[in-house]
Symmetry: C2
Subunit: 309 residues, 2 copies
Amino acid sequence: MVERLAVIGIGLIGSSIARAARARGIAADVVLGDASEAVVRRAADLGLGSRVGTDLAGIVRDADLVIVCVPVGACGAVAELIGPALKPTAIVSDVGSVKGSIVRQMLPHLPDAGRFVPAHPVAGTEHSGPDAGFVELFDNRWCILTPTPDSAPDAVETLRDFWTRVGANVETMTPEHHDLVLAITSHVPHLIAYNIVGTAADLEEVTQSEVIKFSAGGFRDFTRIAASDPTMWRDIFLNNKDAVIEVLGRFSEDLAALQRAIRWGDGDALFDLFTRTRAIRRSIIDVGQDTSAADFGRRALNAATQTGG
Amino acid sequence: MVERLAVIGIGLIGSSIARAARARGIAADVVLGDASEAVVRRAADLGLGSRVGTDLAGIVRDADLVIVCVPVGACGAVAELIGPALKPTAIVSDVGSVKGSIVRQMLPHLPDAGRFVPAHPVAGTEHSGPDAGFVELFDNRWCILTPTPDSAPDAVETLRDFWTRVGANVETMTPEHHDLVLAITSHVPHLIAYNIVGTAADLEEVTQSEVIKFSAGGFRDFTRIAASDPTMWRDIFLNNKDAVIEVLGRFSEDLAALQRAIRWGDGDALFDLFTRTRAIRRSIIDVGQDTSAADFGRRALNAATQTGG
């Protein structure tokens, strides 16, 4: 149980943490800060905490746990702002999708390296902003803690306990390994989704209206991911450059081999790959990280929409 | 209204057509054929038609409309089998995801080129087999008719009417244009989904269990598509080679440019693309080709699963 939780950055993730912390009684008090006046007003209207403001140093002053939920590229500036105002015992964490760069950005501005425990809840949707958050966002998702060599064990334990109560499963690894794991499970998938949607928009032989009309053939799945927050994702790619370029290199190599198999009519190579990938889908469903409902369950949703007019 | 509809190939698409034709009273009688004894038995158990069998020529003998729903690579052989048994007035169509190759495969074996109208309903899920079908699969999806220069206008009209009653919107284009449109909206998206899942499976530095655990970061969306039927998709790539390789070339060029932007830290280029792609997602939702619910509405589904134990 945390006495006072301060959430800095009130987007999808920050507002979901605040909602979960209050709904599940994990923090006695929740306060929130954001650089945007409009976001702060909206968060106040939504009643996300007892206090909401743009004065980030003022917001964190009495907090026992501070979670920074801003785009990766803004973490250094936020640490610089809040560092001098922190209680000596306050634990500082974050939710960034990149960890090595965040450690390098934030650590120099924090008063006590022992109280800093970087973290990354692997959850989200394509929607952004304070309205997009919800209590259950982290349920049965993984939160990865990436303590630095200086992180104090009790601080790591407190954060692990916090995320478990929020609803997540907790795993620990180094920042470097995290950045490689996420490059393949999240960053490169987003990059190729953005890329295919861009390629489709630029084809001269196929109109945009055709791309949109016939998107149910597979394309529409990519557009969901490619609708994610542009600032957040720009920062991720700029801050996880090495791992992303490394994994992208593998992807392009494999794609070239697949293209060669198509050109030469090597049906067995295609069939083998397409069978192997099916098994991975089954494992993801087996461990509860996705639904087995066809089309992610869109069918029921469509039916409901149609019935409702 | 069709007197007797024969569906050849009882998978996701064939069984959905049969279900819709009966449920919505579009055909007075529905008969089905499949080369597999097991599939025929299952279709009989499911009560999908008045007659089901492996003797494809026998099944089509009295049919007024024959729809071939087998993998693209098997269409020629099926046409050869059923050609001699067709009623002179019977309209023959198909549902293949590739059209140029199907015309080349089937036309030589059909008694009357005027009665042949190739078609492609752009709908499906990652599940396969007779059990995977459902009545509403084609509701508000597009069915593309690709008549050949020989197709008789009345045959095209009958088929248009049939698909409209099934629940689809109908569009007409040439087989060649179809194959290019589908290369970008369906075939290349499937190829890169299969490819990224393969790349992830082969990385030495990241374990398969990590890929599966942390798949909610984006990767899991790709695994749905990469769980589609391997035979069907092998045939699609082998039979739409030119358009797929052309679009893949564009995709790879664009990806190289994006990789360069990351390497050189060109945040504006990334931000611009990521903003442009968001607009396409909105259009797809606006025209009713996808749901606006976050994560395709998985959230409600997860909650239901968790409540249900």
